[in-house]
């Protein structure tokens, strides 16, 4: 017994199975996390090695080169790049997508083991860092305070960070720009010399005094008393009374020779939020955590926690990733709802019957809910990819149900009992329905095979659409007949029709349109040449349009967020940089009313930390994060504001270079939107010149903004050159001299002050006036082993040098890159212009120039997309060929495909959308959707021909009869995409190109299917098809006594 007749005969079972499916689906829906994108494990590993004191070129030869050499053999490695800068070597390993990073990390570790012993002794062991998209902080807060600023770090630690860390799903909560407390003992070098003491002595005295020691036990009477010596400092005031020595019988207190300052850490970094001193707090979620939920929980908890804070401490969000997600998801959910409403209206419009409409649209929730079950089982989330996939599917899932229902209605109108009609009508069309579904699957399923980043994104699209469409087919051949048997009744039309009833208005209109179409079709069949010529003309014309449509990788989204990094002359003092920050702050306040919050950080943090991996910093840098008001509330887009900000920056002569990033790439920082030109070459000076020339030429290109050279300009450096001979004569060596200088200038961490469970460094160093000129440094006295003091000037010279602050490698060669960001011009066009510039560029021998960056990824993805299209075309052809058992029919049907691309080109051109990956995917999808219509038509023409109709008559009759289903399925898909294409607001830039291209392509190809495909059918129809009767007669001519031919 076939599946549909069992279903119809056991209606309760059928309905209950689908109810069970809905229950499981709804349960999955409540359990699904909400995120922006499917979680992507970025195939990157970073090897970080620090070698304190080494210059960039030392690091390059002694650390980076060695490591790169051994890491190069790791399997699945795609590209190896590195940056060697002062003190640190960072190597980035990019693997092929979907490499198991744990295995890769092990392999990297093994590879490094061979080489570690060859690294310089002072270099620390290399560490491997993994980077994952969930490591991006989900919320940034700006925290400002006035009176409480100095103690802010401790307050935040206790009252905010620790409670927040307890929230489920939180990875970590960190604070940047915290002032931190430190105790400085600033010594006057002249007094020190007068008392014949050194910094090191003072340091060791402090260390020796700051001690708590247990000294055993004392047994007295019946008790056992522990003995303890309490020498630890209880406060910074105690330091003043420390006796550091005696001179001529007088006691010398520390306060006699030094100023003791208990203050915030001496830092070269200043964080300001809206111009007020402050710091930033960032929250990371755990991998797999629900961004939206964690963010909501953090915000709720923070509201409670804020009550306990001193009144002057203000916490404000700078960047909240969940806001964009919630906005985008809401937008998409609305799009989905509107799509559903449109589909319902279309079905109602064409069917004109409530019960029939109900049966058809019931397939929508059933099919969609299966997608939720899949997402839940596969551990995915509701994200913009899964939701937009649903939007795409929603217009297609009703198609099968419509076909089945139409046939059932036909049988009922012929007075069959609904139950029998349901079974027999399904029997007649179920195979055709499955074949049309297969063509859709043939297009969407290969999407799951795409590799690379594109693949990660589109795997979900492919699987979701495949699953929903297959489910809809299953529902259409089981649930639809079952419900039809239960709900549909024969309408006895003997009631007088009301004037505005369905039959009198819409139905009449549709009938008239059918008549019009049939006459058009008959005319076209008689004027095949004209129709063909017009079609060719339109196709060629539209393809010409395509050349003026720009290309781009992934559309950029307005995320209401701008980050900017600004560089002044290298080596600028932080106080000078701060002045610029202040002036910029005023400008932002006056000319950028859209900016809601300004967070700036000026200068550089202490030492080397994790954050320095991702940004260059120095006393001459300023970085900005600007939060803008909501997209709907402002007139200027984020890109326009960024551009205006660039113009303001141009007015500052102090600013050497800047980069204003308006975000985009849909919150994927790693999917940038820039063009990079790689310059390979060993000679730093030569490559610098090439880079400068290239940068100045690129900045002339229209639309190329933010032209940046990756290698920082050489910075001035003071080198102390020690004279070996003199050193030896004075009994000194490089190690003692360098520690001595470091202790005096940078400071010596002598001991730690413990207070309320926290420890603060006590740092001994020269006071500031004695360490800010070359003379001061030359005057530093160093004690030798004989206790004599030697001035540094006696054993060393100071020379000023220019040194490259960072050396980059790509594929183990020295490289520097010049990058540019497009503004109001397509990436591909700018890339072409740059290509031209490179071709004209004269490069010294040994220097190679090459284009890369996002444009490289773009090319790769477009190639992938092209391949995908070929695979889809082949699969669709195979499916159709097997259905029609003919090689020619699929070809006729496929004539509608190029015209769907014409439609895409016209739609993109008219709306001014660029051809990007998303629009491209839309075009690929069209292959499956478009042939569906043509299959329905051609199949019916074949049927009429087999039933003995003459060729032209068969074509015209079929055209008229199939017009309604073709229009209906096209209209549902087109209107379902409409909200997607039209939506504005958060994130809409990402998916609207897909909607636009599908709508354009489908409208156009529907017209072509209805007119050109019949014409091509007629042209291709050979004698056999034109006159079947005669052919059969020839074949079986034995009745007339002819010999049977064996051929």
């Amino acid at each position: 017994m076939s599946i549909y007749s069992s279903a119809v005969k056991r209606p309760l079972t059928t309905i209950l199975i689908f109810v069970a499916l809905m229950v499981v689906g709804l349960y999955s829906l409540t359990r699904l996390p909400v995120d922006l994108y499917p979680e992507i494990e970025l195939p990157f590993l970073t090897v970080f090695t620090s070698y304190p004191g080494a210059s960039a070129s030392d690091i390059e030869t002694n650390v980076t080169d060695l490591l790169e050499g051994s890491l190069n053999t790791v399997s699945n490695l795609k590209e190896i790049t590195s940056v060697s800068s002062d003190n640190t070597s960072i190597i980035f390993l990019e693997f092929e997508y979907e490499t198991n990073l744990d295995e890769a990390a092990n392999e990297v570790r093994d590879a490094m083991n061979f080489i570690v012993s060859f690294l310089p002794e002072d270099a620390e062991d290399p560490t491997i860092l993994k980077f994952n998209s969930s490591m991006m902080p989900i919320i940034f807060y700006a925290i400002t305070a006035e009176e409480s600023y100095e103690g802010l770090e401790k307050i935040l630690d206790e009252k905010i960070v620790n409670p927040l860390n307890r929230i489920e799903g939180i990875g970590s909560v960190g604070i940047a720009g915290a002032p931190g407390r430190e105790i400085y003992v600033e010594v006057d070098p002249r007094k020190l010399e007068a008392y014949n003491m050194t910094i090191e002595q003072i340091g060791s005295i402090l260390m020796a005094e700051n001690l708590n020691t247990p000294a055993g036990f004392l047994e007295m009477g019946k008790l056992d008393y522990p003995l303890r010596i309490q020498g630890e400092f209880v406060g910074s005031d105690m330091l003043k009374e420390i006796v550091v020595g005696s001179y001529n019988g007088n006691t010398i207190y520390l306060s006699d020779i030094a100023d003791i300052k208990d203050t915030v850490r001496d830092t070269k970094l200043e964080e300001r939020i809206n111009g007020v001193l402050g710091m930033r707090m960032f929250v990371q979620k755990q991998s797999g955590g629900n961004t939206v939920e964690v963010a909501r929980e953090v915000k709720k908890t923070l509201k409670d926690l804020e009550k306990d804070l001193p009144p002057d401490v203000k916490i404000e969000p700078i960047l909240d990733a969940s806001e964009f997600i919630v906005g985008s998801i809401n937008n998409l959910t609305n799009a989905l709802l509107f799509a559903a409403i449109f589909v319902i209206l279309v079905v109602l419009f064409f069917l004109g019957r409530w019960r029939a409409t109900f049966i058809v649209i019931l397939t929508i929730p059933i099919s969609l809910i299966v997608a939720f079950i899949y997402l839940f089982i596969s551990g995915n989330s509701i994200n913009i990819i899964s939701l937009s996939s649903l939007s795409i599917a929603i217009g297609m899932v009703v198609d099968d149900a419509i076909v089945i229902l139409e046939n059932i209605t036909k049988h009922i109108e012929r007075k069959s009992h609904p139950r029998e009609a349901a079974i027999y009508a399904t029997n007649e069309v179920w195979l055709a329905v499955i074949v049309t579904t297969l063509t859709v699957v043939a297009v969407f399923f290969p999407l799951t095979f795409v590799g690379g980043l594109t693949g990660v994104l589109f795997r979900q699209l492919g699987l979701i659409v495949t699953l929903t469409v297959v489910t809809s087919t299953i529902a259409a051949i089981t649930l639809t007949p079952t419900l039809s048997a239960l709900l549909l009744r024969l309408r006895i039309n003997n009631k007088p029709k009301r004037k505005f009833s369905y039959d009198n208005t819409i139905k009449k209109g549709i009938d008239r349109f059918e008549g019009f179409y049939e006459s058009t079709l008959r005319w076209s069949l008689r004027h095949k040449t004209i129709v063909t010529l017009i079609s060719i003309f339109v196709f060629v014309g539209s393809m010409m349009l395509l050349t003026s449509v720009g290309t781009e990788f992934i559309p950029q989204a307005d995320e209401s967020n701008i980050t900017a990094s600004i560089e002044l002359q290298t080596g600028t003092r932080v106080s000078v940089t701060k002045e610029v920050t202040e002036q910029l702050g005023n400008i932002i306040e006056t000319s950028f009313p859209e900016v809601e919050l300004v967070s700036s950080s000026t200068g550089t943090g202490e030492g080397v930390n994790f954050a320095s991996l991702f940004s260059t910093s120095g006393t001459h840098t300023i970085s900005y994060t600007l939060r803008l008001s909501e997209v709907e509330e402002r007139d200027r887009t984020v890109w326009e504001i960024a551009e205006a900000f660039r113009e303001e920056l141009d007015k500052f002569p102090e600013i050497i270079s800047y980069q204003v990033d308006a975000g985009g790439g849909g919150g994927m920082g790693f999917m940038g939107n820039n063009i990079e030109v790689d310059i390979y070459g060993y000679n730093i000076a030569e490559t610098n010149i090439v880079a400068e020339e290239l940068a100045s030429k690129i900045s002339m290109i229209e639309g190329a903004k933010d032209v940046q050279i990756s290698r920082d300009p050489s910075k001035p450096e003071l080198q102390i050159v020690l004279d070996q001979e003199k050193m030896i004569r004075h009994g000194l060596n490089t190690a003692t001299v360098s520690t001595a200088i470091k202790n005096r200038v940078d400071g010596m961490t002598a001991t730690r002050l413990r207070e309320f469970g926290d420890e603060y460094d006590v740092i001994v160093r020269f006071k500031e006036e004695s360490r800010n000129s070359i003379t001061d440094v030359m005057n530093i006295s160093i004690m030798n082993s004989q206790g004599q003091s030697v001035k540094l000037g006696e054993i060393a010279e100071i020379k000023e040098y220019l040194s490259a602050p960072n050396i980059e490698h790509k594929r183990r060669q020295r490289i520097l890159t010049v990058s540019a960001t497009p503004y109001q011009r397509a990436l591909g066009d700018i890339a072409n212009d740059i290509e031209q510039v490179i071709a004209d560029l004269e490069t010294p021998s040994g220097v190679q120039v090459q284009i890369s960056g996002t444009i490289e990824e773009q090319m790769e993805s477009f190639t992938d997309l092209g391949l995908l299209m070929v695979v889809s075309l082949i699969l669709v052809y195979l499916v159709m060929a097997s259905q029609f058992e003919s090689l020619k029919m699929p070809l006729i049907i496929m004539f509608s495909i190029p015209f769907s691309f014409s439609g895409v080109a016209i739609a993109l051109f008219v709306t001014g959308t660029t051809l990007n990956l998303i629009a491209g995917i839309g075009a690929v999808m069209l292959i499956g959707i478009v042939v569906k219509n043509a299959i329905v038509l051609v199949d019916f023409i074949n049927l009429q021909r087999d039933r003995g109709l003459e060729l032209y008559e068969a074509v015209s009759v079929s055209g008229r009869s199939r017009l309604r289903p073709v229009l209906m399925t096209s209209a549902t898909t087109i209107l379902a995409m409409f909200p997607l294409a039209m939506s504005i607001g958060e994130g809409s830039e990402i998916w609207s190109p897909m909607g636009i291209s599908v709508i354009g392509g489908l409208i156009f190809s529907t017209m072509v299917t209805l007119v050109l495909v019949p014409v091509v059918y007629v042209i291709f129809a050979r004698r056999g098809e034109r006159d079947k009767k005669r052919k059969a007669q020839e074949k079986y001519d034995f009745l007339n006594g002819a010999e049977m031919t064996t051929s």
Binding site: H411, H417, E420, Y424, L431, L943
Partner: protein, 97 residues
């Protein structure tokens, strides 16, 4: 005793069962999925992609007086919509055991 052979579009299946029951005819044989073509017009019922409809047939041996009623019933059923299709034929039964 007469043999009545009813050939009909399978969509009539349940109605034919009903007719037999209503005349108290208990014995019959039925064939399903039969191909056939009519001589009085109407579309062939061949169960192919081109002609997807298919027939069933029922052969029943009834007393002479029931034959007319039965034929009449089949005619009424067919007249509901002649596009669906049904015919009945009668011949003599010369013996049985």
């Amino acid at each position: 005793m007469k043999a009545v052979f009813i050939v009909y579009n399978q969509a009539h299946n349940e109605k034919v069962d009903f007719i037999l029951d209503s005349f108290g005819i208990s014995g019959y044989s039925e064939w399903n999925n039969m191909k056939g073509r009519g001589s009085r017009g109407g579309v062939p019922h061949l169960g192919t992609h081109t002609w997807p409809e298919i027939n069933s047939a029922t052969l029943t041996i009834v007393e002479d007086e029931k034959v007319d009623k039965l034929l009449n019933a089949v005619k009424k059923m067919d007249e509901q919509n002649t596009d669906v299709g049904a015919r009945a034929f009668v011949w003599d039964v010369t013996g049985s055991y």
